[in-house]
Symmetry: C2
Subunit: 198 residues, 2 copies
DNA sequence: CGATGATTTGAACGGTCGTTCTAATCTTAT
DNA sequence: ATAAGATTAGAACGACCGTTCAAATCATCG
């Protein structure tokens, strides 16, 4: 009744790490179970010992990645004292920690009619995580009197789509070089919502 | 030496129409040549009579779609009298005519290592088309004295990513319902760049 | 040691897909 | 009408992929 017999858990972790890397680089459809097998050094059969199928593996990795992103944000969140600071901090957090390539390959899975509806739903649910984080900051800003009263749902979507759009640039550009762009987006957005900013 | 013998050109057009539709709905990898054959009613062999391979077909369709989008914009462009009006007009043009699903599936092709570098390059070049259209409006606004002097390249990227991000919503929402969101994005953006807008 | 159950492998299956090839059909020109 | 060339169909190939399965290996416990 030991927790670990002979390190199957370690193998599972290694498989997941290589799978995340491959899905991010090549996308969902273009990453084969054989690729994951070769990269991780474990047989294809062994992957199916740990995971029901490729689809479930991908959904699990996506959820775990998003969870990880959110947890890291919550750690930073309390280090800022104003909602305005939080917005700039969030922009950097998105730039450096949002796993755009992995989450984008989820669209491949979601657009495939053969994918199980359950998996597709689980992937769509992931989009709620960042949106609710953005919304929390905006709400806090209103409550604290930093931001004007406005349509918070609309603001959330506008902010989310802008940051999401900017993230697509991470394919082709250095992250460091994108910092001014992300900050400028926040600055422009703040002009709209900040009290006395008109 | 007639132009059309017996309507092979018509067949080619029909194949292209169905291919665009399928690539948009199911993505690049999940759309097989067999799918296009079934949908169009022409045999797989016939598709290869008109097109060198699946990859070239997709690139051609992408280019044609982008060209079409740009041409339609140029027709509208001259009906607006100010750069400000053009920005709002562009937002609607993007919302209703930018073929997000098709162009997104280009990322599947581009992320596949087996794709020919030439095709990947051609797809990346497509991104220049909308960006230069945005830039032209911003430049005109500055020249006409509507907009302040600022970093036009940065503005172009910020506007482009925002509209691009908003386009992702067209998957799940009605286009009509997105109009206020697109307009609001332009309004916020204009507050930053409009003369005397501070 | 020997049994038991967890772990791991690698071959094999069934299916799909992009592409090629050959033959058949059709149009046009002579 | 018949040859020549354009067009179309459909079978076939070779490669790959997700998944299954039976057998082999290993750690632990009685």
């Amino acid at each position: 009744m030991n927790k670990r017999r002979y390190d199957s858990e370690q193998a599972k972790v290694e498989i997941m790490e290589h799978a995340v890397s491959l899905f991010s680089q090549k996308g969902y459809n273009q990453t084969s179970v054989g690729d994951i097998s070769t990269a991780s050094g474990y047989s294809k059969g062994h992957i199916y010992y740990h995971f029901e199928n490729k689809e479930k593996l991908f959904v699990l990795l996506s959820q775990q990645t998003m969870q990880d992103w959110h947890n890291k944000w919550l750690q930073k969140d309390c280090t800022y004292s104003t909602a305005t600071e939080k917005l700039y901090g969030m922009a950097m957090h998105v730039l450096y920690h949002y796993q755009t390539p992995l989450l984008r390959s989820g669209q491949e899975l979601a657009s495939n009619p053969k994918s199980s509806p359950e998996s597709v739903q689980q992937l769509y649910n992931l989009a709620i995580v960042p949106m609710s984080a953005y919304r929390a900051i905006l709400q806090e800003g209103i409550d604290r009197g930093e931001f004007i009263h406005g349509n918070i749902d609309e603001w959330t979507v506008l902010l989310g789509t802008w940051l999401g759009g900017l993230c697509q640039l991470t394919n082709t550009q250095e992250l460091k070089a994108l910092e001014p762009l992300f900050n400028q987006a926040i600055t422009i957005f703040l002009k709209e919502i900040k009290k006395g900013g008109i």
